[in-house]
Structures are given as C-alpha cells and as structure tokens.
C-alpha cells in the first residue's frame, strides 16, 4: 500500500524492523479469493530461499501453474469442494478453478500484508507513491476459499487445515459471518487449532457499523481488527447554483465536466419507479437526466453501478448521497461523480426542491495527504459490545482500512462492474478487510523480531501500545458521529507497530487458559471438544470466570437497576523487557465507579517473570445502555502498558 507504511511509522525504521533473514522467514497465510501472481507486489527480487520450515505447495489449475509461485508467493492452494457441493460446478467462464484471483479482494489483502516494494504505484494517478506490504520481506501463501464473493465454511476449514500443515506463522482472514457461538463458527474453530500451533490469527471485525453489537470474529483467541482512516483524502467538490459548496470524495479520472454549472436533478424525480432515488438499472428516464448531474441515494446497488446507470441514461455526472451516517467512501466512477455524506446530501436535496432550476458542478481535487485529524474510526467499522462474551472487549484494535491502495486482479475492473473494461494494477478499496491484513503484516514483523512470542503475546503488544489520542491530546474521533470514538469501536486503539516491538509487559494466554474460559462459558464437554479437539471436563469444584481470562482489555458488564455490584478481574503480566518496577494508574471519568487494583506496584527482575494482579470494579445501579470508558495503565517510566476499560449496564 502507499502511505500507510509512513502513517504507521514503518518507513525508514530499519533500526526497528530490519531487513534480516528473520523477517523473511515469516510466512503469512491469506485465506481469501486467491491471487493475481503476475503483479509486481509479488516480485521476489532480493529474497533468499524459501524458509526450510515451509511444507506447502503451489497448486496448478485453470489459468494458474505451479511455476507462478516464487520466493515471495511461496504457496497457492484452492478449496472449492464445499462451494461446488452446494452450488454446482464453478462457472469457469466467470472464475478460474485455481488459486487465481478473479475478484481482486485476495490480491489486495495479500499485497497489503506482505507485498514487495513497487515504485510508481497508483490507481489512475490517485494515491501515487511507493507501494509495499507491511511485512514486505515476509513470504505469502494464499488459500483461495472464496468464490464469487461467497466463502463456504467447509472450504474455509479445509484452507485453515492445510495452512496449519504448511507451517504458516500468521493467518489473515478478511471475512466473517453471523454471530455464531464459538462451537458452530468454522473460523473460530479453525483459529483455535492455529493458535495452539503458535499461529497468530488476525480477522476483520466486519463492516456493519456504526450499529452496536455488529461484530464478527469475536473469539478471544482471534485478533479482531476494526478500521480507521489515514491522513490521506481524495477530495471532490460539489458546487451548487446557490453558491454553497460541499466536500465529497472521488477517484474519477476521466474528462472533467464542461465548465460552468449544469442542471441538477434528484434521481427520485427522474424516475417512475418507487425506488428511483437509488439509481438502479432501468429506473431513470433518459429525457429527464440527459446532460444533467443526477443525485442518487445510497442503498441496494453498489455506488459505482449508480454512476454507470446515470451514464447509461445520458447523465453528465452523479452525486452519491450516503444514507448511512457521515462515512465517505470513494469510487473510480465511469463518469464525473462524487460521494457526499448524509447531511450534505440532505442539504443538496433541499436545494433541488427549493430551486426551480437547480444547477451544480463537480471539481476533482486529486490526492491530498497530511489530512488531520487522522486516524478516525470508520463509520462502517463494526462495533461492540461482544454479543457472545460481553466480558471480552472487541474489536481488539483498529488499523488503516479506508481508501487503501493495494494490488488488484487483472480479471476485474476497479469498480468491479462487468461493464467497466478498465484494468488496473492497483485499486483503492475500503473495509475491515483492508485493516485486517495491515495487522497481519505487522504481526509478522513482530514475529520476526520476537519469534518466541505466542499469538496472545503479539496481540497484547499490539493492544497495550495502541493509541487513542491525537498528538494534540484530543480523543480519536468516530466518523459516524463526529464525536470521540469509544473502546466499543476502536478497542485498545489504533495500532502503533514501532511501540509494539518493545511493550515492556504482555498479557500472555495459552490453550489451557482458553479451556478455563470455555468452562466459564458453561460449554458442555462436547462443545469444548468440538473447539479444542480434546476430552476436557470442567472441574465441578472449581469456580471458572470469564473475567479471569488474561486479556489486555477490561469489558465490565453490570446488570442494570439491581443496586451496587462488584465484579473482580484477575490478570497476569509477563515481563518481556528489562527489569523494572511498574506502577498502576487508573483513569475513569465517572467517580461513582470504584476501581481497586491490587497490588498497585509490581517489580520484575527477570525476563519472562510473571506477576498477577486483581482489579475490582464496584459500581452503583445505572440505567440500561449506560456506558463508561477508561483505562488501566502500568508504567515503569519508559513503557506504558495500557488496557482499555469499557463498563456497561444492561
């Protein structure tokens, strides 16, 4: 990707993440829609032999030969039996029955995690720069488990099964489903087995924000990644005949609109269809839109298709009005077009209604960098609380996921529309799918520096060093509200890879700890066996508590309107830095909640030394849906080990 390595502090830091063999021995497995291996992002120049630990293969298939793998793309497999069993044979006129990516998504995520350095990367001139994956010297193995956008559970499990056999170090899954219990969630089950083998599993949190309780991939042995913006924008300016101007976004790269103002029409007024405002194919009346700029509402069909519908009907340009909060996502439209936020869209509609001859024009601002504030939590990023275990805060962390440039398939246009015959080496898209491989790549970097760290230790380092404020001290904002985001949206905060290398202390978790966690959930022996593949009977004489899982964050769920309650958490810190004495500091804006940490000071004299502490949260009754947020920080004066606190009443 361009810009995000700089935004994350990864550029020009060979002192932290050097180009050593250790870094190039890390293998990232990407379960997705496959790979377009010819992209320069998968050039293997300068890479040494494939790591000896690697046991995978490069499978041949339609339009894909085993010779397409190299020292960067070291493995490629595909899993279609589940898809074909349900939907019939793969339609080979539409996609290749092989690891080849006919969708674009898999090439994008794989290159984001570990793509090689490519100079002069851009989408039609937008986001121009040097593109690279986060772990640009790590190796990539792709497991194609998604076909025409659908990913069948049996294929996902088969892909994870093979990835474990193949000896990947990190697994990246930018996909998800409904809110399953862990014993019926293929991703959670596969991730448990991977975790046991020391494989860090990073998954996307989902794009169902800003709704609460909208998270996917909530198992505590998964690192769940939400999405934020970076300091880059692609402005497009909508000017109205009444003199008002609005800022939107666009990747339009064709001829500009004619100079001067053009007639402006609301799609709903240029259609006989009840849903004419959505610019669905065949719903616009050409005589009413010809030569005009058409305002289309969001919903039902994809944004780029709305532009194509306007263009097909003879429209000159399109304004896309988001109907889902303030979030703005740009597209490489086929006609001059810009996306504006919901409030701005409403203003433009008011103008159209009030003026007998409304007019407008759109100007395109190219690529703007250094945009502040950044990051901002993306409106679409899924939010907690955790629907399965409210005591585990999810998502864990956020990373860049808005307008991310990365490699793209040669089989599909940048808009994904079949009518769009353009082909691009790089595309810019948004989603938690894009933030997940950023974290996967960063996890690979940490694995290279600290090969002995467990998946939980890597996640802990990422979480406890994440940031939640801007340099000026202001709290990270939420695109959906324009107000400060909360841990239910950003988890521990925005990832800071350089700080994560040296966290001082980590909250480590092993497989046995997760068994105790499953006992705390009162899972039956069969349910535990499904997840863990072992006979394990919870000790009936033992008191298990979800709050004892050694998680870096604290999600405290109080019952509402039941009087004062106390909930106790226990945690264990492991020293991964120099000897030192750490003191705790608790920050909580609500003084009615009492937080007691015992002990308040811990001293470490050896590496890997473990010291436990407890936290008691005592709170009065509050109305349902009340939330209070804070943090618990341990510091030795050098390191800051921060755990977010989210207290809710329900």
């Amino acid at each position: 990707t361009t810009r995000t390595p700089l935004f994350l502090g990864l550029d020009n830091r060979p002192d932290v993440f050097n180009d050593s063999d250790a870094m190039s021995n890390v293998i990232i497995g990407v379960l997705d829609s496959g790979i377009w291996p010819e992209r320069r992002s998968f050039d293997d120049t300068g890479l040494g032999p494939v790591p000896e630990s690697w046991k995978g293969e490069c499978e041949s298939g339609i339009n894909f030969s085993s010779a397409m793998c190299n020292r960067k793309l070291i493995g490629a497999r595909y899993f279609s039996s589940g898809y074909e069993a349900t939907l019939g044979p793969i339609d080979e006129s539409k996609e290749s029955k092989s690891p080849r990516d006919n969708e674009g998504h898999g090439t994008h995520t794989a290159s984001t995690a570990a793509g090689s350095v490519v100079q002069g990367a851009s989408l039609l001139g937008y986001a121009l720069g040097t593109a690279r994956g986060m772990a640009y010297r790590a190796r990539v193995a792709v497991y194609k488990v998604c076909w025409l956008g659908k990913c069948f559970g049996p294929d996902i499990l088969a892909g994870m099964d093979k990835a474990i056999d193949d000896n990947v170090n990190v697994l990246s899954l930018s996909l998800g489903g409904e809110h399953f219990d862990f014993y019926s969630d293929n991703v959670a089950i596969g991730a448990f087995a991977a975790m046991e083998k020391g494989i860090m599993v990073s998954c996307s949190a989902g794009n169902a924000g800003p709704n609460q309780f909208s998270l996917a991939n909530q198992a505590p042995w998964i690192t769940t990644v939400g999405a934020g913006t970076i300091d880059r924008d692609f402005p497009a300016y909508v000017s109205l005949g009444n003199g008002k101007n609005f800022s939107g976004v666009s990747f339009y790269a064709g001829n500009p609109l004619p100079s001067g103002m053009l007639p402006l029409v609301y799609a709903g007024n240029a259609s006989n269809a009840t849903n004419g405002n959505l610019c669905i194919m065949g719903t616009l009346i050409p005589e009413k839109v010809k030569g005009k700029i058409v305002l289309c509402d969001g919903g039902v069909n994809v944004r780029a298709e709305k532009g194509y519908v306007v263009k097909s009907a003879g429209g000159a340009g399109m304004i896309f009005a988001n109907t889902n909060g303030l979030g703005l996502v740009a597209d490489a439209h086929l006609l001059p077009a810009a996306a504006v936020g919901q409030l701005d869209g409403d203003e433009i509609k008011k103008y159209i209604t009030s003026d007998p001859n409304p007019t407008a024009t759109i100007l395109f601002g190219g690529t703007m960098v250094g945009v502040q504030p950044a990051p901002i939590l993306a409106a679409f990023s899924s939010r907690g609380p955790n629907t399965i275990t409210p005591e585990i805060l999810k998502p864990d962390i956020i990373a860049p996921g808005v307008n991310i440039l990365a490699g793209w398939s040669g089989a599909v246009s940048p808009t994904g529309l079949p009518e769009d015959d353009r082909r691009v080496e790089f595309n810019i898209i948004s989603g938690t799918s894009m933030s997940c491989p950023h974290v996967s790549g960063i996890a690979a970097l940490l694995k290279g520096v600290h090969p002995e760290w467990s998946p939980a230790a890597i996640r802990s380092a990422l979480m406890t060093t994440a940031y939640t404020t801007y340099r000026n001290g202001g709290a990270l904002l939420d695109e959906a509200t324009g107000k400060p985001s909360t841990p239910f949206g950003h988890g521990a905060g925005h990832v800071d890879p350089v700080s994560a290398v040296n966290p001082g202390l980590v909250y480590d978790i092993n497989a046995d700890d997760y068994l105790n966690f499953l006992c705390a959930l009162k899972y039956s022996p069969s349910q535990i066996n499904i997840i863990t593949r072992r006979n394990f009977t919870c000790d009936s004489s033992k008191i298990y508590s979800v709050t004892d899982l050694n998680y870096p964050s604290f999600s405290v769920a109080f019952p509402a309107d039941t009087g004062s309650n106390t909930i106790r958490y226990s945690r264990t810190l492991t020293n991964v830095g120099p000897s030192g004495t750490y003191k705790v500091a608790v920050t909580l804006p609500d003084s009615s909640v009492e937080i007691i940490v015992e002990p308040e000071t811990v001293s470490f004299t050896q590496i890997n030394e473990k010291i436990s502490y407890s936290v008691s949260f005592t709170a009065p009754s509050k109305p349902p849906s009340t939330n209070v947020f804070g943090k618990i920080e341990w510091s030795d004066g050098t390191h800051l080990v921060t755990g977010p606190v989210a207290i809710s009443w329900s």
């Binding site: 997705d32 049996p154 996902i156 994870m160 099964d161 930018s174 089950i189 799918s433 066996n529 499904i530």
Partner: protein
Amino acid sequence: AMEEKKTYIIHMAKSQMPATFDDHTHWYDASLKSVSESAEMIYVYNNVIHGFAARLTAQEAESLKTQPGILSVLPEVIYQLH
C-alpha cells in the same frame, strides 16, 4: 425436502474411535456409511477438527447424530468477504 442433500460438518470424538480402526479416516467413513451408502464425503480434516464434511439428507444427518463418537452434525455456514 427430506431427500434434498445439504453439506454438514461432522465433529467426531476421536478418543471414542474403536480400536478396530487404525486410521481415523476409516472410522469417519464407516460412520458415514452406517447412515447412508450414497453419502458423499467432501473433506476430511486433520488439524482444525476431528471430523469431516459431507453431503447428507436431513434424515441422514439426524441419524448420524445418534451414532457413537459423533459430537455434532452442523449444517454448513456461508461467510462473506469484508
């Protein structure tokens, strides 16, 4: 509708594998064949679960649940890219 086949993921309790089997895949196959001669196995998993994926009718799935060593017979789930 009872004859329509769907994909299921079958989780097995490997500790309950009879000693007469020296390979878990044979045990999986025998368990499947005990409820249907025509049932098709799609995948056998080695790391992520003890079990396999197969095409079964609803009746066969119900019958399989009652066989020894079966932990669960779960219908497939479809996931989506984010």
